[in-house]
């Protein structure tokens, strides 16, 4: 019998909804579910949680996840996700606890350790090109470093019989490339096949982004139902690659949703760099073969990069955002006056303020004034600052709130404050990232 795999998408970010993913898992249409739980910022924030508490820093949805997917696991379904974030060991503990709590037995849990490369980044004083410094120059601010790791350890764990696989910063597409390579028997150095697997992975990894999320723009782009979007799934065989979604769900898998997902977050379409290959999507084609069924093909690949991308978390002090609204005649003038007054009142704090900006929602907040409009009926002043310390950030928040006292008619003050953890990329030779895999019998 020729080989094939059916694999569904279960999550695209750390707080993605699990209810619709569960529907796909329970449909019986897929043998595998992939879960991407991380974004650039999520990873650094997870590291900060772990610094505060050594049992934290992993995906916080694991208890809910285990409850919702216990049935899928009991039926033999396999799950692969970067649930570990900054703490794969703690994630594994939660998974084992969840399996027990939900009465699931006989599941081999595979854990991938070793994406944390903070020591390497500092020891080798890696360059941080976007910041124009090396790691040692800002060593006191460097809080984390994680390498984007590929499909190799996933294939290894599947070969050892793992049914639930988790790791830290496993690259988004690799969560799908691993199962596809394993089930199809594709060698990880067959670059053509890796390009093909990466194409399927790329179309799945963003969840409902591929089925009508971030897509509708009436009256040009209209879909029948976007209330209840289906998560996407792929059927892969040697003959064809088909992307579809669960029947009865909203959204769409069509030419438009597939094309926008194809080019999402890629730079040179002929050289999409992942830990698994240099994929070439430039000649990819998409073809509708039925309602919400699209056939894709034409991907190819070249050897994977010798270096792995590392995201380095950098402590940037505190970020504060405070907002207030003005309406009616003269609202723009009053909002502008408010901004000027705050700037004056903050002069004593300017040494502690790295950057501050004043934006006007409804006018120029998104596009910096590149898209001029008419006079708005109401405007919301937004003051955002990055400060060296909490005291300075508090001063910015205080001055935002004090705008209650004028100019006239300011209302709806809100303030948000949080530690500012920046992330910046670096490159590390692949051989410096030593991964360890572990199988735990539950």
């Amino acid at each position: 019998m020729s080989r094939s795999i059916s694999i569904g998408s279960g999550s695209a970010y750390s707080t993605d909804r699990l209810d619709w993913a569960q529907e796909l898992a329970d449909s019986g249409l897929v043998q595998y579910m992939g879960f991407d739980c991380l974004a650039e910022r999520t990873m650094a924030l997870a590291q900060v949680r772990r610094l505060d508490d050594e049992t934290a820093g992993h995906d916080q949805r694991i208890p809910e996840l285990m409850r919702r997917f216990a049935g899928f696991l009991r039926r033999g379904g396999k799950m692969v996700g970067n649930f570990g974030a900054a703490n794969p060991a703690a994630a594994a503990d939660d998974v084992l606890r969840g399996l027990k709590l939900n009465g699931v037995t006989g599941v081999r849990v595979g854990v991938i350790h070793g994406d944390d490369v903070l020591d390497h980044v500092l020891d080798q004083d890696l360059e941080l090109p976007e910041m124009g410094v090396t790691a040692q120059a800002i060593a006191a601010q460097v809080v984390s470093a994680n390498a984007y790791i590929g499909a190799d350890p996933i294939v290894e764990l599947l070969e050892e019989g793992a049914q639930f696989i988790l790791g830290g910063r496993v690259a988004d597409p690799s969560l799908y490339v691993g199962p596809i390579a394993y089930e199809m028997g594709w060698a990880l150095d067959d670059w053509e096949k890796m390009g093909t697997a990466t194409l399927v992975a790329h179309l799945l990894e963003c969840g409902t982004h591929a089925t009508g999320g971030n897509y509708v723009d009436p009256p040009y782009r209209v879909l029948d139902d976007i209330v209840h979007l289906g998560f996407p799934l792929a059927h892969v065989s040697e003959d064809e690659l088909v992307i579809t979604k669960l029947e009865g769900t909203g959204g769409a898998v069509d030419i438009g949703t597939m094309k926008t997902q194809l080019a999402y977050e890629i730079h040179d379409p002929a050289a999409y760099l992942t830990p698994d290959s240099t994929a070439d999507f430039s000649q990819v084609w998409v073809e509708e073969v039925g309602p919400n069924r699209v056939r894709v093909g034409g991907a190819s690949g070249r050897p994977r990069p010798d270096s792995l991308k590392v995201l380095v978390g950098v402590d940037q002090g505190w970020k504060v955002v405070t907002e207030i609204s003005y309406g009616g005649a003269g609202c723009v003038e009053r909002a502008q006056l408010a901004a000027e007054v705050v700037a004056k009142r903050l002069e004593p704090y300017q040494l502690g303020i790295d950057e501050i900006r004043y934006d006007f929602h409804g006018m120029s907040a998104l596009f910096d004034g590149q898209l001029p409009g008419g006079d708005p009926a109401e405007v919301r002043l937004r003051i955002a600052a990055r400060c060296d310390d909490r005291e300075t950030a508090d001063a910015v928040a205080f001055e935002g709130q004090f705008l209650w006292m004028g100019p006239a008619g300011g209302g709806g003050v809100t303030t948000q404050m949080a530690p500012a953890i920046g992330v910046t990329p670096a490159l590390l030779p692949r051989e410096d990232v030593k991964l360890i895999t572990e199988v735990i019998e539950a």
Binding site: E40, Y220, K259, Q261, L262, H267, S282, V286, Q370, V423
Partner: protein, 110 residues
């Protein structure tokens, strides 16, 4: 006419880099898009939002373009103080670009 009348777009972010893909609803408009939507037109529309380079790539298989813009997010999602640090809304600004070739273009809506 506005690009929005015959093409669609999505933005994506990586660090301080934004990519904006553009596809035509009707393949008949592909050559016009390819000819008219230049880096210069995109740079003119984005102005102060993009401090770095803009590179244009083609996706001939799907009849699309991909614009990659560096230093485009005020420092990237984790550092930026902008309202939209991902640049998710950039697709809408791109679709505001005027394309001066009305007689050649088949618009999405009759």
């Amino acid at each position: 006419m506005k690009l929005r009348e015959f093409a669609y777009s999505r933005s994506g972010d990586k660090g301080d880099i934004v990519n904006l893909c553009v596809f035509v609803y009707d393949d008949a408009n592909w050559e016009v898009l390819r000819r008219e939507l230049t880096v210069e037109k995109v740079r003119d529309k984005f102005g102060s939002l993009v401090k770095g380079e803009i590179t244009r790539y083609e996706l001939p298989g799907t009849k699309g373009l991909n614009f990659v813009m560096t230093e485009a997010l005020g420092g990237g999602v984790s550092m930026s103080l902008r309202t939209d640090p991902h640049g998710k809304s950039y697709q809408s600004l791109l679709l505001e670009i005027d394309i001066d070739a009305d007689e050649e273009i088949k618009p999405r809506l009759g």
